[in-house]
């Protein structure tokens, strides 16, 4: 059986024009890999949104990274001040990975 190692998965939902903010924070936290998924819409404290804007200003992207505990904590610390002001949403969970040294 293949060995797996536990790592942390951080997911951040972020407005498309603000993606670079997250990438900067990720780089500063030492994160070396991430993937971004498209979204369709949602509901939150600032109401409904849907990616039907000609502007693209109202669309959001789901940023996902799997990394070790230290970098995850650094990333969360870097992002926490932005959560409220930029209305990002952040989740953390555990995942197991193969080839743990990569993450």
């Amino acid at each position: 059986m293949t060995n797996t190692i536990t790592r942390q998965r951080i997911e951040v939902l972020v407005d498309s024009p603000l993606v670079q903010r997250i990438l900067d924070a990720a780089e500063s936290a030492g994160v070396t890999g991430y993937t971004m998924l498209p979204t369709l819409g949602g509901l939150g404290q600032s109401g409904h949104w849907a990616d039907d804007q000609v502007s693209g200003a109202a669309s959001k992207v789901l940023f996902i990274t799997v990394t070790n505990e230290k970098k995850a904590a650094a990333l969360i610390d870097a992002l926490t001040p932005l959560l409220e002001s930029h209305s990002f949403v952040l989740f953390r969970s555990n995942v197991e990975v193969v080839r743990g040294d990569r993450f």
């Binding site: 024009p17 603000l18 903010r21 109401g47 039907d52 804007q53 502007s55 693209g56 200003a57």
Partner: protein, 318 residues
């Protein structure tokens, strides 16, 4: 009122009615974006070709200066009104003000259609004014926000990129330059797409805009009646100011009307993205609803014919 009977306006109304009735009709986002890129390239090209035929003129220069000034100055009274009477905090007021100083490409395009059909086509150089008016209002809005005590969430480099290099400006200005370079003869090779098909494609885009505007109106909880009234007031007042300025600086009736349309319109492409970056604390529900759900339809149905009429009357006076 026969402008209401043009297919372009009717497709917009169809979109509004369909969305208000709750139809599930939607234009795929990629298609809507593709069409809007096409429209910007086409309008830029056509403007450039016209200027290459007519040559540069002092009118062009004065229209450009007037446009830049209007774009930069209009946000200030707008901000003031929104703070005092609109009940908005500094950040939201500044974000909305930036939208009203900037311009809506589709409102302009629709206006050109209607002005041309009414025998008063604006000069080709108005496209250059359109492209140049995207940016100054962003700067004005951010100055207002900073004066209101907000830290900007953006670096200068990023801001320049958003204000001067967003897709709309690049396509409008790039198309304009290409049109200038290739002239009438070079344009003829691409005329079937960029000229002949233009009005039909505009119909489909206005259908989409009608759907988007009406849906936003239905869902827009952030939009109060008071703000909706201001969204119409700004369109009206700014538009009239634009027509007056255009007439005073000696533009023809068509170009003066076009300057009014530009001044009266509010951005919903370039400025929202810039505000999301620079003023993330401002609520998109407010500025997108005001510009897209109120000002845009208001201008299509009321503003454009009004500014055209006013410009024509003023031209007859002088």
């Amino acid at each position: 009122m026969d402008f209401l009977l043009s297919p372009v306006t009717l497709f917009f109304i169809l979109g509004v009615v369909a969305a208000l009735l709750g139809s599930t009709l939607t234009i795929p986002e990629a298609v809507g974006k593709g069409i809007s890129l096409y429209l910007m390239a086409a309008i830029g090209l056509k403007g450039g070709v016209e200027v290459s035929a007519a040559g540069f003129s002092t009118d062009l220069a004065s229209a450009v200066v007037a446009g830049l000034l209007l774009g930069f100055l209009l946000p200030f009274p707008t901000y003031f009104v929104l703070r005092r009477l609109g009940g908005l905090d500094p950040v939201n007021a500044a974000a909305v003000a930036a939208h009203y100083g900037s311009v809506s490409v589709v409102t302009y395009v629709t206006g050109v259609e209607i002005l041309t059909a009414s025998g008063m086509p604006p000069a080709g150089y108005m496209v250059a004014v359109l492209a140049l008016m995207e940016a100054p209002a962003i700067v004005a809005g951010l100055m207002l926000a900073r004066s209101g005590g907000t830290d900007l969430g953006i670096e200068r480099r990023e801001l320049v990129r958003e204000a001067l290099l967003n897709g709309a400006v690049v396509l409008l200005a790039g198309g304009f330059v290409i049109g200038l370079l290739v002239g009438k003869q070079g344009f003829s090779a691409v005329e079937p797409l960029f000229q002949d098909a233009f009005r039909g494609i505009l119909c489909l885009f206005l259908l989409d805009m009608g759907l988007l505007a009406a849906r936003r109106l239905r869902e827009g909880r952030a939009l109060t009646i008071r703000l909706a009234c201001f969204a119409m007031l700004f369109a009206l007042v700014n538009g009239i100011v634009g027509v007056l300025v255009g007439t005073v600086i000696g533009l023809g009736a068509g170009s003066a009307a076009a300057l009014g349309i530009l001044a009266g319109s509010a951005s919903y492409i370039a400025v929202p993205a810039a505000m999301r970056l620079a003023l993330p604390a401002a609520n998109p529900g407010i500025y997108l609803s005001m510009s897209l759900a109120v000002t845009f339809p208001f201008n299509i149905i009321v503003g454009i014919p009004l500014f055209a009429h006013l410009a024509l009357s003023l031209a007859k006076l002088t």
